[in-house]
């Protein structure tokens, strides 16, 4: 089946029920997207399908057929996306495992809502879990990427 992944048209001979995450990681070798829970409960595998955030671990390939898929590798060609730069500037990651999913969810948010309120950020990010507890830095980095001033008392 055909789909566009990070701007490149791909033709994959895979089962339509294969999770998109399997195709991304094991068939295409794009390992930036992580396997977390496998049940759409943690957000580590978040990618975009036609600009919408989806959990690749529960998204069957047939949903992605003919669509445009963007993974963390395709967010920018050189790591220059405002979110990636903000993540670096504020040293957001600790272990880093969840961060690709965090950034992809944040990117879907900013694409639709370029200057989100803290409530909007929290609502968008609520399903992305970070076991290191980097949530305050994630929110600060989203605000920075959006060109919003730091929150008072955030230490940023």
């Amino acid at each position: 089946m055909k789909l566009h992944v990070n701007g490149i048209e791909r033709s994959l001979d895979v089962d339509p029920d294969m999770p998109l995450l399997w195709a991304i990681r094991d068939v295409l070798g794009l390992t930036g997207t992580k396997y977390g829970c496998g049940e759409a409960l943690c957000g580590a595998c978040t990618v975009h399908v036609d600009g919408h955030a989806v959990r690749a671990c529960v998204t069957p390939m047939r949903r992605a057929e003919g669509r445009t898929v963007t993974t963390i590798e395709g967010l920018s060609p050189d790591g220059s996306h405002a979110l990636q730069q903000a993540w670096l500037a504020l040293r957001v990651p600790q272990c880093g495992y969840c961060q690709a999913g965090q950034i992809m969810t944040a990117a879907a948010l900013l694409a639709k809502n370029p200057q989100p309120s803290n409530d909007a950020i929290d609502a968008a990010m609520a399903g992305n879990i970070c076991r290191c507890g980097t949530y305050s830095r994630i929110r600060a980095a989203i605000r920075k990427a959006a060109g919003l001033p730091p929150d008072e008392g955030s230490g940023q």
Partner: protein, 185 residues
């Protein structure tokens, strides 16, 4: 009035109500039967009276945390279809159906009485702008409504079949769409 006994999880058919001579009483009885569907958690959970979907047989708040959003389908980055597909998923147990989303807040059913639902279903401001004929069609044929009878993963289905439910709603409309007496709403 004694109606034909039915097992739990079944619905009576409109013919079972022919013994009720009074047309208004028959209409109200038909609606009460349909109420076993309308007030089942499978239906009410996605007609919440707040901004968070419910889940389970006890109407607990949706976990992971999600919100209604302006279009009743979540918010950017955390949409209903970020996780839910157009079909139930066997291995991950994530429920799904086409058009997976919440009913608008004006169509909230959680915490409402059967009498309230009866009047709400007939009010275009609170029923999605539908005529009664469209309510019958929605009840009988809508593919997201249909999920209630095929919820997957050992979830308890709503009673009867969608065809039977549609027939009850149609018979209720044909008998004048009468409602239970006013009650505390």
């Amino acid at each position: 009035m004694v109606l034909r006994p039915v097992a739990p999880g079944e619905l009576r058919s409109p013919a079972d109500f022919q013994s009720i001579v009074d047309r208004g009483a028959r209409s109200r009885a038909l609606f009460a039967e349909a109420g076993g569907v309308l007030q089942h958690p499978r239906c009410v959970n996605c007609h919440p009276n707040g901004d968070v979907p419910h889940q389970g047989m006890q109407h607990t708040l949706h976990d992971p945390p999600v919100v209604r959003g302006p279009e009743n389908d979540g918010v950017p980055g955390n949409e209903c279809t970020t996780c839910h597909q157009n079909h139930n998923q066997q291995l991950t147990r994530v429920p799904g159906a086409p058009k997976w989303h919440l009913a608008p807040i004006e169509m909230a059913w959680a915490g409402k009485s059967l009498g309230y639902l009866c009047r709400q279903l007939q009010d275009p401001l609170r029923n999605g702008g539908r005529t009664l004929a469209q309510i019958v069609d929605h009840s009988t044929n809508d593919e997201l409504v249909a999920w209630g009878w095929s919820p997957g993963h050992e979830r308890e289905a709503v009673p009867g079949t969608q065809k039977q439910f549609g027939a009850l709603i149609a018979a209720w409309v044909e008998t004048g769409a009468q409602c239970p007496a006013e009650d505390k709403e």
